[in-house]
Symmetry: C2
DNA sequence: ACCTGAACACCGTTCAAGT
DNA sequence: ACCTGAACACCGTTCAAGT
């Protein structure tokens, strides 16, 4: 039994996420995570700070699972694909996903995601003054929707898909009317 | 020192909410609530079930603080006033408000609120097939927005107001295009 | 540097007992 | 019926010690 186990922050976060998936977010604690790793609780403190930092790390792990397409795709397609990927993360990790709403995401990964949305909106032709607030509104809605979906508020996946498609249609209609002046001569 | 204190479920929930307001949601526990009431922790169990039930009761307390105008007002005004009232609740109880997203609201009071939104949408002329999904989309957005606001995501109240007004404009634009056929002859 | 073992100050909850 | 007191099985975290 070596006392050097080669414990890793990434390994700890993976274990914590798996624990949340299996037994619920309430089951995620220093002692339980340590037990899954075959280690004393105190061994974790060197790698993740304390329990709060562990949960922040879980938020980071969730966000890095979101696939954001490269700039070769059209901006609206990028936004739609990112949203779909976030919803998929919510369905894969319904127990842990609530953390995204409960905790403010201040990690570098979260800020990258926001910048990607801003860039896509600018590229899509949204007025400079509206970009910031539109990003806040869209991400609020998409994260809220995904969280609702994860907590079972939409009953089944088909209905959630239909609801989301409806919301997208609604928003694109509104945005088309906002970003470009109404066709005057027709 | 009477052993009969006349403890009440409402009194307990009020105390728990005040405790969340003062010391954060994490501070809300059976022992802490009991201490505020000058009572043993075990005295609570007869009135609220256990800690889970206490938190469900907190959700109920938050929702009953929302002012929903009577049917004498126009349906859209009712929706806007309800949303504004929900945002006010979030600002009054920022710590506790996250519970609305973390816990599915299955209490009678929550279902009443949903029915009020449905009725207003029907009255506003939304197509029968769209009423359900539109209610889910709107409430998802409004609760998510209020929660974001409560957690400080919008920096200040002025910006939150501006963002919310922008979202309302966006949505009413889209709804006008959806509920009524586009004016053909102009 | 990395992990352990024992200990401390907390939790929620059960159970028998008091009035 | 309503509340108490003691006890049980848990937490997160500190601290000194081992290798």
């Amino acid at each position: 039994m070596p006392s050097r186990r080669g414990l890793t922050r990434a390994e700890i976060l993976d274990t914590a996420l798996a624990l949340a998936d299996d037994d619920g977010l309430a089951a995620v604690g220093m002692r339980a995570v340590a037990q899954r790793l075959g280690v004393t609780p105190m061994a974790l403190y060197r790698h993740v700070g304390d329990k709060e930092a562990l949960l922040d790390g879980l938020v980071e792990r969730l966000l890095t699972e979101v696939d954001v397409p490269g700039p070769e795709q059209a901006p609206v397609d990028r936004l739609l694909a990112s949203a779909a990927s976030l919803r998929a993360v919510a369905r894969r990790h319904p127990e842990a996903f609530g953390l995204l709403l409960a905790r403010r995401a201040a990690t570098p990964g979260a800020l990258d995601a926001r910048d990607a949305v801003l860039a896509a909106l600018v590229e899509a032709g949204v007025a400079r003054d509206d970009v910031g607030r539109l990003e806040r509104i869209l991400s609020t809605f998409v994260i809220g929707f995904a969280a609702s979906e994860a907590s079972g508020r939409f009953a089944d996946v088909e209905r959630a898909d239909a609801d989301f498609a409806y919301a997208v249609r609604l928003l694109t209609t509104a945005l088309a009317a906002t970003t470009t002046p109404p066709p005057a001569g027709s």
